[in-house]
Symmetry: C2
Subunit: 457 residues, 2 copies
C-alpha cells in the first residue's frame, strides 16, 4: 500500500490483536541478571518469590527462554474494552515542524486509567483471581498504575489497597477519587500504617515520598495480610512481558502499511512502556533481522540510565524487596519534590539495563520545563493533552524531527504516547505560571546515595 494511503489513525481489528505476549529475554544473548534474596544474596527461587507474587506471575518472571506466552481469553476480552490502541500518524505535527520526517505514535491513553498501565494491571489481577486470592496491594507514583489496577480489580471483584507517593497524593486529589470510584483504598505514603512507613517518617520527617518507599509499604502489607499478594506496575520482567502488546500491535500496524521505523523512542521510568514498545523490534535486532535506533528518554531529575551505575540494588527504599541488577541512583535516592508526574523510580528494568549495557540502546535525559513546553506544543498541534511522562518522548521525537529538517533526511520516527495529562493540570498550571524549576541532582548526591548500597558481585 502506498505511503499516502496511511490514515491519521491506524486501528487494527480485534481479530488482529496479538494472542500472545512476546518475551524479549528469549532472544537476549546476555540474559538479565537474576533477582537476589536480600538476606542470602542468592538468586531468588520460585518458592521465595511466591510469598510476595502470584504463582503464575513468578513463572513469567523467571522464564528467560519461552518466547511467547498465550494471553488468556479473559484478558483478551478485557483488552477489547480499550484495545487495539491507535497508531497515529502525526501529520499535523510533521506539518507544523516543517520536517521531512514521518512521525508515528502509539497512543495508549484512550482508557479511563489514562495510560498503558492497564495492559499489565488486568493480567496481574487476573492471575491473582485465578489463584483464589482476596486482594492485592501496590504502590503508585503519578497514579496511573494505581488507577489501572483499581479498574482491573473492580472488574474482577478483587480488593485493592494502593499506597500513593505522598506528593502525588497531594498534587493529584482527583487521582485518588478515580481509584475510589473503582472501590480501592488509597493511602498516602510514607504512612503510619506500616513498620517501614513509620521508620521512614521518623528518619525523614516531612518527606514527599518516593516510589521505592511506597513499594516497601505495599509489600509489607501484602505479606502481613492473608490472601493478599503484591503487584508492581513496572520494572519487573513480567510487566515488560505484558506490555509487549504495545509493540506487537505497533509492529502489526506498521507492517500492514509497509512502514519501518528508523528511530523508536520511549520515556523511561521503570521501563514498562519502553520495554513493551520496543520488544518485537529489539527482538529483530537481537536476531540480526533488522536494525533500529532505540532511545530511552528520562527526566534530568531522576536520571538512572544516564547518571546511575549498573549494579545490584534494592527495588525499594525499605530494603525488604529482592535486589535487582540495574542502572540505579541508589534505592535511597529521592527525586526532588519539584519533579512532576511519574518516572521517579531510582532504578530501571533489568532487561532494559542489560540491553543498554550491551550498547543496544541509547539514553538521553531532558529538563522538566523543556518537557512541558513540548507537551503544550503537542497538545495544540495534535489535539491530545499528553501526560508529563509521555511528553519526555514527545520532546525527544520533536528533537529528532528537527534534525531531519536540518539534514533533509526522511526518517521514520516512532514514539510511545503512554498516556493523557488530565490529572496533571496542577503541574501544567505551575509551568504556565513560571513556577516550575529544573532541579537536577548533584554528582555528590548521587554518589552518596550509591555509597550506601551493599557490595554484591
Amino acid at each position: 500500500m502506498s505511503e499516502n494511503k496511511i490514515p491519521y489513525k491506524i486501528y487494527l481489528s480485534e481479530d488482529e490483536m496479538p494472542h500472545t505476549w512476546y518475551n524479549l529475554r528469549a532472544d537476549m544473548k546476555t540474559k538479565p541478571a537474576p533477582l537476589l534474596n536480600p538476606g542470602t544474596l542468592q538468586p531468588m527461587t520460585a518458592e521465595e518469590l511466591e510469598g510476595v507474587f502470584c504463582t503464575e506471575l513468578v513463572k513469567q518472571e523467571l522464564d528467560n527462554d519461552t518466547a511467547y506466552f498465550e494471553i488468556p481469553r479473559e484478558i483478551r476480552d478485557f483488552y477489547k474494552m480499550y484495545r487495539p490502541s491507535p497508531l497515529v500518524r502525526a501529520y499535523c505535527l510533521e506539518e507544523k515542524l516543517r520536517t521531512p520526517a514521518h512521525i508515528y505514535y502509539k497512543f495508549e491513553g484512550n482508557n479511563t486509567s489514562g495510560s498503558h498501565k492497564l495492559n499489565s494491571a488486568v493480567a496481574q489481577a487476573y492471575y491473582a483471581k485465578q489463584q483464589g486470592l482476596r486482594g492485592v496491594t501496590t504502590e503508585t507514583g503519578a497514579g496511573q498504575w494505581g488507577t489501572a489496577l483499581s479498574m482491573a480489580c473492580s472488574y474482577l471483584g478483587l480488593d485493592c489497597k494502593v499506597f500513593m507517593v505522598k506528593c502525588s497524593y497531594e498534587q493529584k486529589p482527583f487521582r485518588r477519587e478515580v481509584m475510589k470510584v473503582y472501590g480501592s483504598s488509597v493511602t498516602p505514603s510514607p504512612s503510619e500504617t506500616t513498620n517501614v512507613g513509620r521508620k521512614i517518617l521518623a528518619e525523614y520527617p516531612g518527606t514527599s515520598g518516593s516510589l521505592g518507599c511506597a513499594i516497601s509499604e505495599a509489600v509489607e502489607t501484602a505479606v502481613s495480610n492473608p490472601g493478599y499478594r503484591y503487584v508492581l506496575g513496572s520494572v519487573l520482567n513480567q510487566v515488560l512481558l505484558h506490555q509487549s502488546i504495545i509493540g506487537l500491535e505497533t509492529k502489526t500496524a506498521m507492517d500492514k502499511y509497509g512502514v519501518k521505523p528508523d528511530i523508536i523512542i520511549g520515556c523511561a521510568g521503570g521501563g514498562s512502556n519502553l520495554g513493551g514498545l520496543i520488544a518485537p523490534f529489539m527482538g529483530e535486532k537481537l536476531r540480526g533481522e533488522a536494525d533500529y535506533r532505540f532511545i530511552a528518554v528520562e527526566p534530568a531529575s531522576c536520571p538512572s540510565f544516564t547518571r546511575g551505575e549498573y549494579r545490584y540494588d534494592f527495588c525499594d527504599t525499605g530494603m525488604v524487596c529482592p535486589l535487582a541488577k540495574m542502572y540505579t541512583l541508589g534505592s535511597g535516592f529521592m527525586p526532588s519534590s519539584d519533579h512532576a508526574g511519574g518516572l521517579r523510580f531510582h532504578g530501571m528494568s533489568s532487561i532494559l539495563s542489560q540491553l543498554y549495557a550491551d550498547g543496544l540502546m541509547e539514553a538521553v535525559s531532558v529538563k522538566q520545563t523543556d518537557v512541558f513546553e513540548a507537551a503544550e506544543y503537542f497538545a495544540r498541534v495534535e489535539g491530545i493533552l499528553p501526560a508529563p511522562e509521555s511528553s519526555h518522548a514527545i520532546l525527544a521525537a520533536i528533537n529528532e524531527a528537527k534534525k531531519c529538517r536540518e539534514t533533509g533526511e526522511e526518517k521514520t520516527i516512532l514514539f510511545g504516547l503512554t498516556g493523557t495529562g488530565y490529572f496533571d493540570l496542577v503541574a501544567y498550571e505551575k509551568f504556565h505560571d513560571g513556577k516550575m524549576s529544573n532541579f537536577v541532582p548533584s554528582d555528590e548526591e548521587i554518589s552518596q546515595s550509591l555509597a550506601q548500597l551493599p557490595e554484591v558481585h
Copy 2:
C-alpha cells in the same frame, strides 16, 4: 454478517466517515419556529444574525430545506484527529445486567476536550477563520464546550474568550487550566467585565451563575469587540447540523453489521448530542422508512421538556439574544447550585422541541444521585468513567435493559455516551461522601420564572 461477529468496538475507517452533515429540518413537516428579534419580535433576518454569528453559520442556521451540507476538507482533516469515534457493543454491561437486550453506545469522549462538543467547535471556528475574524467569544457550563472551542481555536490560530458559569469555574479548576493550555482566556460568569454581568451581580449577589447569563456576557463581548463573533455549543440549528456526524457514523456502523436499534437514548441539555445522535434515524421516521423510540433524558433539577412550557423565550438571562420557540423553564430560571455538571440550560433546541411537541419523541427526567449511581456502575463494568451528563443516558439505558430482563424481550438499545468524567471528580467525591442532594424545583418556582416572560404568539 452474523450478530456474534460484532466486535466490542466498531471503528469505521477514515474513508467511511461522512462527507456531509445531515440537516434534519429538511425532512420535518412542521419546521422549527424561527428565531425572533427581541426588539421587534419579528423573525430574525440573515443581516441581523450576522452581527452576532459568522455569515456561513447564519446560512446554516436559517436553512430549513437543504438536507445535506458538504463538510469542508479542512474540517474533515481535523475530524480525523479524533474521529471516527467508536460504536461500542456493551457486552460487559449486558452480562452484568443479565439482560437479553443488546446495548450499544456511541462514545464521543476519546478526545482531549472529552466530549462530542468538538464536532461543532471546529466547524464554527473554521467558518470564523474563513471570514477573516480575529476571534470568538462563548460561554461554557460544565466546561466541555469551552475546552472544545479552545482546542479548535488554538489549532486554527483564533483568539478565544470563554465565559464560564461560576459554579463550574469553582468546581472544576482543572477545566480552566486545560483551556489555558490551549491559549484561551477564561472568565467566571457573572463577571464585572460586561454590563449584563454587572447588572446580574447587582440583582443576585452571590449567584453561582447560569448558562443563560454566561451567554449574555459572551454575546455582549462579541458585539463590542471588532473582529469577534459569538459561537454557541448547543441549542442552535447549526450545532445540531454539525453534530449529525454522531448519528451518521452510528448509522453507517450499525448498517454495516445489520443492526437496527429499537430505542435510541440521549441526554438532553440544549440538545446538541441528542439532536446529532438521532438525526438520521429520526429522518427515516419522518420519511416513514423506519420506526424507532427516541428518549430524551434530562435532570430533574432542570427539566425543560418534562416540566417546561413550549413557547417563545430568550436564549439568555440578559434578554439580549433572539427569542426561540422551545420547551423552557423561563430564561430567568437558575438550576440549583447542587446540580453537578452540564444540562443546565433553561430551554431546549427548537428542532427537538418541535419534534417533542409533535409526539415523535419521549422525555424522562431523572434524579441526580440515581445518575451518579449509574455512572459508577457503568465505570466499573464498562471501564469508562462517564461524564455526569452522559450518565443520564446510561441510567435510562440501564432502566430499559432491566425492563427487557423482566419481559424477556431482545431489544436493541442505543445510547450516546457523550463524554468522560475526568473533570467531574469533585461531583463524584460529593456523591461518595453522601453529600449530594436531589434538588427539584417546585411548581411555583417554575411558574414564577415563566410568568416573567413576554407574551409572543
